[in-house]
Amino acid sequence: MSGRSAGTGGSPFAPHTADETAAMLDALGVDDEAELFDIPETVAFDGEFGIPQRDERTVRADLRETFERNDDLTEFLGRGHYSHYVPAVVDDLSSRSEFLTSYTQYQPEITQGFLQALFEYQSILVELTGLPVANCSMYDAAAALAEAALLADRVRSTTGSTVLVPEDLRDGKRGTLDNYVDGSDLTVETYPYADNTADLDALASAVDEDTAFVYAETPTVTGAIEPELAAIGDLADEHDALFCVGSDPVALSLLEEPAAVGADVVVGEAGALGLPASYGMGLGLFACSEEFLRQVPGRLVGKSEDADDRRAFTLTLQTREQHIRKERATSNICTNQAWVALRAAMHAAYLGPEGLVALAEDCVRDAASVAASLDALDGVEAPLDDRHHFREFTVGVDDAPGVAAGLEERGFAVHVLDDETLQVCVTDLNADAADDLVAAVAEVVR
């Protein structure tokens, strides 16, 4: 019988037969499990939440019905959360229970498989960023950025205290950053954008001896490729501030590696590989220079040897972590996004360097071509800046909310930035529908 206690209303995942339970209770000298609970009556609860037990089939049917309430729209949405087609083999291999239902690798001898996979993930990020150290994940890009700022606070504490971020930073990143630095001496300030990338002159006058950390994104939140990364890095360097670049692994496959333009830290969203659209769930990328090795937040996997001198992997430099250093730890992160990192590495290894570059090139070409098609429409301007673009770009129209509503009626979702600006993101998942989107925009703005 599936679920020994299913018939009695117990947990279907507790495998005890009634006889076993009775024998165990007997061995402990009690009549009932309730006797084992040492809870004062004043705070005891009667066990009734009002949630009925349901069989598996009913739960699945209920939830299928629930999700059917979501409208079926073709999404041209990005702004920090990107989905590419994930090969079926990634789903299959990552769902092997030996990966999926395992825990953090506290006993390396029996968890070599996951440790090696995470070592490989770290290695892929090292290649993509050009930096020698990558951790094996943060929660998402927002947490990675916030942890990078706290790292700056630890290593630059005697001089600067200002964190400089773009004024166009996404609310989720800015809000998370604000909360993380709230307990530190850091103050967050913004620098302006011009033409959807950093306004270099304004940034130059904002950076001074108080600056601990300068953050730049490429592509930016509107998909513009930042042309002045090296100059921004020089500005940060001149004032002994940490230079942090935000990006993602698909973009990094094509764009100049951040280390080559002076980045001390690279953060970003690595879920663009391996993670399907998942309502904002992410994979925080974090890489940095050797200098900060012992200040890196989160987990690191290192190579070692076993007693037979065979190569082996293990979690390492754990004396930075909360379970050893407690309040002096580099961060409080414990559970991370290991399984998502595994999927990202699988996806990267499936595509290989040629496939990754081809995917990235498509992100450039498709964005340019869809922008050009939209720009050709009367009353539509795209893109709204003179930049190269990756996946996405801004679109000028007279009544952006009205156009977006019209598109929604026709089955498309786009971003509304303000009354006159939309943003459109094109990837391999929606490129086929781009002509239909352009036709729908033409209809709506007419």
Binding site: F45, F49, S97, A134, I225, K326
Partner: protein
Amino acid sequence: MNYDQARYGDETRNESLLSEKDSTEVDPGEGSALPDDLTRDSLELPGLSEPELARHYTRLSQMNWSVEAGPYPLGSCTMKYNPSFADAVAADPNAAVHPDRDPETVQGNLELLHGLQEYLATIGGMDAVTLQPPAGAAGEFTGIAVAKAYHEHHGNDKSEVIIPASAHGTNFATAAMAGYDVVELPSGEDGRVDVEALEAAVSEDTAALMLTNPNTVGLFERDITEIAEMVHDAGGLLYYDGANLNALLGRARPGDMGFDIMHYNVHKTFATPHGGGGPGAGPVGVVDELAAFLPRPRVRTVGEAGSAGDTAAAADGGALAGHDHGHANDATADDEYELFDPEHSIGKVHGFSGNWLVLIRAYAYIRRLGDEGLLDASAKATLNANYLASLLDMEVPYGPFHHEFAATAGDRDAADVAKGMLDYGVHPPTTKWPEMVPEAMLTEPTEVENRRSLENLANAFNEAFADSDEELHAAPTRTASRRVDQTSAARTPRLSWHALGTDE
């Protein structure tokens, strides 16, 4: 039971690295639509054919322990069996949407989030819940940030957070991260909070006390009402670390004990796979008075405005203790949902809305089990812990226990005993923690082991414990790797294949 783990490779290494199987260098700038100065000159990565990829990762998987391979009784980690149906539900393509969708077009997702908020509030005896924190430690940080915002809003000048010495290390790191001084509380002789020591530690500076109940040796803090009163009288808040909630399901609720804030490790208590270290999810529940400070946005039914923390004075009063949260609203099918920002929200703790795929599984699991299943989970988890403890040759101080216990290896090295256990087809417990038990082996079998499995587990403990030091030092012998040299890994960090010599 003896165990032989799969092992691939040769005398010098296990399964080859991806980079050893294939490595190709390309020039991404060549033929690019982008100008030269924006593109990289070189990208060197492996790229495997699909069959090679399948073999590589299948082999790696076989060199990895999981809860579906056998017992995984890591104390305070609650490694339960993860039901497959929840994975199937989470894979529903209709749930796979972008987080920036117009809320009106993702009513299904909002229905689930709202339903989970309600379930968690009811199970914890809390009034309002945020699902945004992406892990337990992120939940702790969110909870303490909410406490801080509350104190600042009311002009309370607070600088300290009190934490028992036996608490999870994340508590200390979290409090420090939020800018608080940590006051460490020694454990009493009975393994519980020493109420006199607490009395001495509590002051006007106390922002919060962070407490796990049952605590990390499985003991219920019986004086919880007195403890809550002491903290509240000083104007502090009581924070519940939900890591051990599995032991309490349906037996007691943190809200009823006087806790003001709690996080739920839904990946532990509500059984979603831990994925080799994550993702998890760490929703946070609070009492009415704190609801207005929760992260933005939250989900409510259209028409619910004004009742769940979007106003400073919540509808049903909300004293710091003694509130009474009703039963779960289990009927959700026809409601319309919207997002709203709590009035004094601390802002964001995640770039978007948290770890969605984990939240789906938690919701499905709670619906599957219902009241009776949840109650049985805590019953069997507690029965199992006590039964296993009774079978061990090792001394087990304190007790009786709830979900977990800390056996002591005495004059043996707990880490060595754990290595000895690896050859027996089980995963060893958490070792050398908490420090209040010398050479601790913190063990949490959870409800998913039955009598036979527990007896096998006890046998692994007892056999390893009886082995000589020499035998233990030679262990393990049946795993993919023999004893791994962790000292050299830390002394000479080699963190990528780029850092390995050409002789690798």
